[in-house]
C-alpha cells in the first residue's frame, strides 16, 4: 500500500472533485427524500425506535447467553460455527475453508464486515478468484476502489462513470445509454459466475438465536444466487448481530429498511439455516458461520456498548453535513460518516483516527435519524475526551484552549482580553467586515467576519446603566 495521505489531504482532494459532490447528492438526496416519506407514513416511529433500541440493548446485555444459544441451534441444523477474535483470524478461517475445499472461485455478496476485516484482500492473496456480485461492489471491484458508503458502496460513481467502466470491462456492454442498460449488462456479465463458483460468501443482518438462522436482506437477488449454487456457503458476522427470535428480527427489519432506503421491506429477506438437506434440490453442502469479535467486546467494556446497537442502515451518513461534502473515501476507513467516526477509532486506533470524531459539528441530526437511537454526538464527544486526555490535540489548539479556560475562570482578565481583541479587530476592518486577519485564517479564508464596535456587552451595559 502506498502512503495514506492524512485526513485533511483526503478532504481537500474530495472537496476539489465536483463530480463527487454530484454523485453524493444524487444518491443521498434520494435516500433522504424516500426516508422522509416512509417516516411521514409511520407516526409510531418514535415508539418503534425505542423498541429497536431496547431489543438491541437486551441482546448486548445478554450477549454471551445469546451467542451460546445461537451456536447450539445452528450446530443442530448442521451449521459449522467458528469463532474469530480478530479480523485476521476470521479471514484465515475463511481462507482455510476455501483451501480445504480446493476452491478456485468465490462469489461474494456485499458484507460490510467482510470489508472491515479485509476479506476481499485475503481471498485474493490466497489466490482465489473473487467475484463481487452486488452491483455496487461489482462496480468498485472493476474500478479498484474501496467502498464509500455502507449501503451504496459505489455511491461516489456517477452513472456516466459507471457506463465508462462497464464499456471497458464487460463482454457485451451494449449502448449503456440508461441505468437500466447498465444493470442488464452486469446481469449478463455475472450470470455464469454465480453458477460456477465453488464458494459463496455473505454477511448477516441478523443472527436469530432461537433458530440458529442467519438473516440477510438484499434487493438484487445476488445474495441468494451467491449462497445457493456453490458447494460451500460461508457467513461472516459480527457478534453484535444477534436477536432473540425471528419476531424480533421483524421489528428490526421495519426500522432497518425504512431508514436505509425508505422502502418498507427489501425485495429479498432471507433466513439461511444450515446446509442442503437430503431432500433438497439445491443449496450448499456445507454451511459455515464465522462469529467475529474484532473489537466488539472491547467496545462493550470501553463505554461504547450503545454503538453495538448499530444495524448499518446508513441513515446517519445520508444526513451528515460532513459526509455529504467529503464523501466516504475521505474518512480513510471502512465505515464513513458519523457511525464510522465512532467505530474507526476502535478498529484503527484513536491516534490514527483522531480527526474523525473532531471533524463533526455535533449538530445531532445523525442521532435524530438513527433507528436505534444511538447517541452518536455523545459517543463522538467521548472520543474527543480520550483524545484530549491522551494529548493528541495539536499543541497550538491545546494551549489556546488552556489559556482560554484560565481566563474564563477569571472574569476581569476575560473581559480585559476581550476588550483588547475588540480594539485590535477593527484595525483590519474594511466597511464593517474583516476579510483577512492574523490568526483568524480558518475563518477568513472562506468568509468575512463582522467587525465589532463599541466594546463588550458587559462594558456597554455598565455604561448605560451606570452600575
Amino acid at each position: 500500500m502506498s502512503h495514506t495521505p492524512d485526513f485533511n489531504t483526503r478532504v481537500a482532494a474530495a472537496l476539489a472533485n465536483p463530480t463527487l459532490k454530484v454523485a453524493i447528492e444524487r444518491t443521498t438526496g434520494t435516500a433522504r427524500t424516500k426516508r422522509a416519506a416512509a417516516m411521514a407514513a409511520w407516526p409510531e416511529f418514535p415508539a418503534a425506535r425505542a423498541l429497536g433500541r431496547d431489543i438491541k440493548d437486551h441482546v448486548i446485555e445478554n450477549l454471551a447467553h445469546y451467542l451460546v444459544e445461537f451456536e447450539k441451534n445452528a450446530v443442530a441444523a448442521g451449521t459449522k460455527v467458528h469463532w474469530a477474535r480478530s479480523g485476521e483470524e476470521a479471514c484465515q478461517i475463511v481462507v482455510d475453508i476455501c483451501r480445504k475445499a480446493k476452491a478456485k472461485s468465490v462469489t461474494r455478496a456485499k458484507s460490510m464486515l467482510g470489508e472491515e476485516i479485509g476479506l476481499p484482500h485475503a481471498l485474493e492473496a490466497a489466490g482465489l478468484e473473487r467475484v463481487e456480485t452486488d452491483l455496487a461492489e461489482h462496480i468498485i471491484q472493476l474500478a479498484g476502489d474501496p467502498p464509500s458508503h455502507i449501503v451504496w458502496p459505489a455511491l461516489h460513481k456517477t452513472r456516466e462513470q459507471v457506463a465508462e467502466l462497464f464499456r471497458a470491462h464487460h463482454r457485451d456492454p451494449g449502448a449503456m445509454a440508461t441505468v437500466e442498460a447498465m444493470v442488464a449488462s452486469a446481469r449478463r456479465q455475472l450470470r455464469e459466475k454465480f453458477m460456477a463458483a465453488d464458494v459463496g460468501i455473505s454477511g448477516a443482518n441478523f443472527l436469530i438465536a432461537d433458530t440458529g438462522a442467519v438473516c440477510t436482506v438484499t434487493n438484487e437477488g445476488n445474495a441468494e444466487l451467491t449462497t445457493t449454487p456453490p458447494r460451500i456457503h460461508i457467513v461472516t458476522a459480527g457478534i453484535e448481530k444477534l436477536v432473540p427470535s425471528t419476531a424480533h428480527a421483524m421489528a428490526m427489519l421495519r426500522l432497518l429498511v425504512r431508514s436505509a432506503t425508505g422502502a418498507e421491506l427489501t425485495q429479498y429477506t432471507t433466513f439461511h439455516n444450515g446446509p442442503k438437506r437430503a431432500e433438497d434440490r439445491d443449496g450448499p453442502d456445507e454451511f459455515h458461520v464465522v462469529l467475529v469479535d474484532a473489537g466488539r467486546t472491547r467496545m462493550l467494556n470501553e463505554g461504547l456498548a450503545e454503538m453495538l446497537r448499530c444495524i448499518r442502515c446508513g441513515a446517519c451518513l445520508n444526513h451528515c453535513v460532513v459526509y455529504r461534502q467529503i464523501g466516504g473515501h475521505a474518512y480513510g476507513a471502512t465505515y464513513p460518516g458519523p457511525m464510522g467516526s465512532v467505530l474507526t477509532p476502535v478498529l484503527d486506533g484513536l491516534e490514527q483516527a483522531q480527526d474523525l470524531p473532531r471533524a463533526c459539528t455535533l449538530n445531532g441530526q445523525c442521532q435524530e435519524v438513527c433507528p436505534v437511537a444511538i447517541p452518536l454526538p455523545t459517543l463522538l464527544r467521548g472520543w474527543r475526551e480520550k483524545s484530549w486526555q491522551r494529548g493528541f490535540e495539536p499543541a497550538t489548539v491545546r494551549w489556546a484552549l488552556v489559556l482560554w479556560r484560565f481566563m474564563a475562570m477569571r472574569p476581569r482578565l476575560y473581559e480585559f482580553a476581550g476588550n483588547l481583541g475588540l480594539r485590535i479587530m477593527p484595525l483590519f476592518s474594511r466597511g464593517g467586515w474583516i476579510s483577512r486577519m492574523p490568526m483568524a485564517g480558518g475563518w477568513t479564508a472562506h468568509r468575512d467576519m463582522p467587525s465589532p464596535s463599541g466594546g463588550t456587552f458587559l462594558a456597554q451595559y455598565r455604561r448605560r446603566f451606570k452600575k
Binding site: 443521498t28 454471551a64 451467542l67 451504496w152 444493470v183 454465480f194 434487493n219
Partner: protein, 211 residues
C-alpha cells in the same frame, strides 16, 4: 478455535443470566402498537393491495380455484409475448394441474425466461410471498427466472410479519426461508431504482380462492 470461543465469551465479561428471566424479558420486547398502520382490513385484501403498491410494484390477480391458475399463467405469457414454455416448480399441487398448451420442465435454467411457483403463503403487511425450501420448493426457482409467476392461497395470508414468525416459532426450521417482496431491483447507480438486477425482473402473484 475453542480458544477464540472461550476468550470471546470471557471478554464479554458477564456471567449469563437466568435463561427464563432473559426469555421473559425478550417476550416483553415485541412490536405491537408501534407497527405502521398497514393491516387495516382483511389480510388477503391488504396483501393484494400491498403487492400492487408502488413500493412493491408487483402485479397481482385473483382466481377462484387452483384449477384456474394455469389459465392465469397462459394469459400472463400471452400478455408478455412469452413463448408457451416455463419451468414448473416441482410441487405436486402444481404438477396436478392441466398445463396443456404450455411446455413445462422441472429443471430451471440459468437464464430461464419464466417460472411458475407456489408460495407457502403471503404476508399482508408488506405484500411479501413466503417460500420455504424443500424437495418441492427449490430456492433457485425464485431467483433464476426473468418472469416469476406465483400462486398463493388466499387462506394462507398472515396479517403481520410477526404472525408469520410466530406460526413457525418453536418448529423445525427449513434450510432456507425467502420472503420475496416484489421483483429484484437495485438502487446502486445514483439511487435510481431499476428492476431485474440479478433476480426476476417481473413478479406476478395469483391469489387463489378466498380467505
Amino acid at each position: 478455535m475453542n480458544d477464540a470461543r472461550t476468550e470471546i465469551l470471557k471478554a464479554i465479561g458477564k456471567v449469563p443470566g437466568n435463561p427464563a428471566t432473559i426469555a421473559a424479558q425478550a417476550q416483553r420486547l415485541r412490536a405491537g402498537a408501534c407497527r405502521p398502520d398497514r393491516v387495516n382490513g382483511p389480510a388477503d385484501e391488504v396483501f393484494i393491495e400491498r403487492l400492487r403498491s408502488p413500493g412493491v410494484a408487483a402485479t397481482a390477480e385473483r382466481v377462484a380455484t387452483m384449477q384456474d391458475f394455469p389459465d392465469a399463467v397462459r394469459r400472463y405469457l400471452a400478455a408478455h409475448q412469452l413463448a408457451p414454455a416455463l419451468a414448473l416448480q416441482p410441487h405436486p399441487d402444481l404438477q396436478a394441474l392441466d398445463w396443456s398448451g404450455i411446455a413445462t420442465h422441472e429443471h430451471i435454467a440459468t437464464d430461464e425466461p419464466a417460472a411458475v411457483g407456489l408460495a407457502l403463503g403471503g404476508i399482508a403487511e408488506t405484500g411479501s410471498l413466503v417460500f420455504h425450501s424443500s424437495s418441492v420448493s427449490p430456492t433457485l426457482f425464485c431467483f433464476l427466472p426473468l418472469h416469476h409467476i406465483v400462486a398463493v392461497r388466499a387462506s394462507q395470508i398472515w396479517p403481520w410479519l410477526e404472525d408469520y414468525a410466530d406460526a413457525f416459532a418453536g418448529c423445525a426450521q427449513p434450510r432456507n426461508v425467502n420472503l420475496i417482496t416484489g421483483a429484484s431491483g437495485t438502487t446502486d447507480i445514483e439511487g435510481t431504482l431499476v428492476r431485474g438486477a440479478h433476480g426476476p425482473g417481473w413478479l406476478h402473484a395469483v391469489l387463489i380462492g378466498n380467505a
